[in-house]
């Protein structure tokens, strides 16, 4: 079966910095993959490559078999790749409703968009904030609004960059539930630092280090891997 997203020998250079090195990465339809790595491992750059915000120096990105390596920045979103960025990226001057409606409206009629926006607000638990200006919300609520913005367009592939960052334990647990619920219909790639959160949601984990994939395995094996512990958790192998 064709993977929903695949990269082949993906490389990107920023001047003298080799930010992504020969990355070969595959995610199947409806899979949930977590990507971990220390700061500067190239996780956010990798997401930027997948969403057309950064062009690869060499290599290929295939979305459902279609080469999207050289697309304009708006085209991956149109094809069906949704992203929640590391720093919440919302329309701060618009209401929560308008933020989600704009996403739904791109692919739906006006009537459908109203219904989808209402349903999405319920899914992410933000109905009470529908008329609140997005820029006035607290960080955790903004994260949920952005997840709502992404899922309202019903994309086959969703990229979530640190969805639980800055959240309380209760909020983290609720976000994990939400992600597992979204995963029933969508493939997800989740970048996260919080290992407890990874344990809650992950079925397979990819480890990035200095722009390259060094390991791909089940969460428990990744956590106990000496190399991962050394480079990610800062522990020396015994």
């Amino acid at each position: 079966m064709t993977p929903v997203i695949e990269t082949r020998n993906l490389n990107v250079h920023f001047g003298g910095v080799h930010a992504t090195r020969d990355v070969n990465f595959k995610v199947a339809e409806a899979e949930l993959r977590c990507v971990i790595g220390p700061n500067g491992a190239g996780k956010s750059t990798f997401f930027k490559l997948l969403t057309g915000q950064v062009k690869p120096t060499s290599g290929q990105i295939l979305f459902r078999g279609q080469d999207i390596s050289d697309m304009q920045p708006h085209e991956p979103g149109r094809l069906g790749i949704g992203i929640k960025t590391q720093v919440p990226s919302l329309f701060n001057g618009l209401s929560v409703w308008e933020n989600i409606w704009l996403s739904a409206r791109r692919v739906n009629t006006a009537e459908q968009s109203e219904r989808i926006t209402r349903q999405t607000l319920e899914r992410v638990g933000m109905t009470a904030y529908r008329d609140t200006i997005a820029g006035l919300l607290a960080h955790g609520l903004r994260q949920w609004v952005e997840i709502g913005v992404v899922i309202a367009a019903d994309p086959p592939l969703i990229l979530l960059d640190e969805p639980a960052a800055g959240m309380s334990d209760a909020e983290v647990a609720r976000t994990a539930e939400l992600i597992l619920e979204i995963n029933r219909q969508h493939a997800l790639v989740v970048v996260e630092h919080d290992m407890n959160f990874i344990r809650m949601i992950a079925k397979k984990v990819t480890v990035l280090h200095q722009g390259a994939i060094i390991k791909e395995d089940m969460p428990d094996r990744i956590m106990s891997d000496p190399l991962v512990q050394q480079i990610y958790l800062g522990k020396k192998p015994h």
């Binding site: 001057g93 618009l94 367009a153």
Partner: protein
């Protein structure tokens, strides 16, 4: 302001003013309405599209010159009227394509639009010789083009508009532009234009081509400014390179800042207020009008940065909130007084 209210006020002014005002005042109000259309064009692309164009005067001037040249060659004013809108629109589309599809930053946007305006100013200014003619229309260089034929009833070149007819047409144009833009802003296209101003990156990530939406709003702004230019040429039967000048470009920006960015009524209020003030200052010899305009701009930027209309809106909301709170607190003792006998009765019954 609601669309119905705006429409009602517009129609009332359109029908009521000609009956109570003399021709001179009517002509004065016509120029206010012409310039208001120009102000709204910038108010739309800047306030809602986030595009600070320093060269809105370029499209205004192009509309004015296009009408003048075309009507002098064609006689009937129907096609020149349409050309005066189409030519600045196409010019704005080409300029916008280079800027938006070339992914130039906002700073370059300002520099390019200002430079284009000044190039047009110098270009038209240097066409004074008799060899500078397009058909039967002499461009006239710094002297401008005088005796521009007034708009006529379509298909009847001899049936030209009276001052009242021009007032009616200008007011209808202002009303159509205002209500049309209101409808556009509340549509899907309008919401995306506003969203792109808020966060262009997010618009792209959602799959909207932000460049196309910006180009559309910029082109529409050019077309509206062209319409204003055409009406301006009709108002005075004259046009000159000064309308491409720095002063004109700066004035439009001041109207929008003073009236209120992010509203469509604001640029109209700002335009009328500043135009009226400029005219009043012109009747005396003590103050220089440019100095006063500069002072007003500084005062508004520092003290009323949101402009007249949004500030009045906030003031009205604040006053209404205070009145509601006062009403609520004054009704509380009465409520308590009313509750007291009931409580006493309840105590008695227990």
């Amino acid at each position: 302001m609601s669309a119905a209210l705006s429409f009602g006020i517009g129609i009332a002014l359109l029908l009521g003013l000609p009956g109570v005002l003399d021709d001179y005042t009517l002509i004065q109000i016509t120029i206010y309405a012409v310039m208001s259309i120009l102000g709204v064009s910038l108010g739309f692309i800047w306030g809602f599209g986030g595009i600070l164009c320093f060269g809105q005067a370029a499209f205004f001037g192009l509309g004015s010159y296009t009408y003048a040249i075309a009507v002098m060659n064609m006689g009937d004013s129907t096609m020149p009227f349409l050309l005066a809108i189409a030519v600045p629109a196409v010019f704005a589309m080409i300029l916008g394509y280079v800027i938006f599809y070339g992914r130039l930053s906002d700073v370059y946007m300002g520099v390019i639009t200002l430079t284009v305006t000044l190039i047009l100013f110098n270009l038209i200014n240097s066409t004074a010789g008799p060899e500078w003619k397009i058909g039967s229309a002499a461009l006239g260089g710094f002297n401008g083009i005088p005796a521009i034929p007034t708009l006529n009833v379509p298909g009847q070149p001899d049936n030209v508009l009276s001052p009242k007819g021009l007032f009616d047409l200008t007011f209808v144009c202002l009303l159509v532009v205002y209500l049309g833009l209101r409808m556009l802003i509340s549509s899907k296209i309008g919401r995306v234009i506003v969203a792109a101003k808020e966060n262009e990156q997010r618009v792209l990530l959602l799959g909207y081509d932000a460049r196309a939406y910006k180009l559309f709003s910029f082109t529409l702004g050019g077309a509206i400014a062209g319409l204003a230019g055409c009406l301006f040429a009709n108002w005075g039967a004259f046009t000159s390179p000064t309308i491409f000048g720095l002063a004109q470009s700066a004035q439009i920006i001041i109207w929008v800042i003073v009236g209120g960015l992010g509203t469509l009524v604001g640029p109209i209020v700002g335009c009328v207020a500043i135009q009226w003030l400029t005219m009043q200052i012109g009747t005396q010899q003590i103050f220089n009008s440019n100095l006063v305009l500069g002072a007003i701009l500084v005062v508004f930027v520092l003290l009323v940065p949101r402009g007249i209309v949004p500030s009045l809106g906030s003031l009205a909301e604040w006053t209404y909130g205070r009145l509601r709170r006062r009403k609520a607190s004054s009704s509380m003792p009465a409520a308590r007084a009313g509750a007291a006998p009931a409580m006493a009765a309840a105590e008695e019954s227990t």
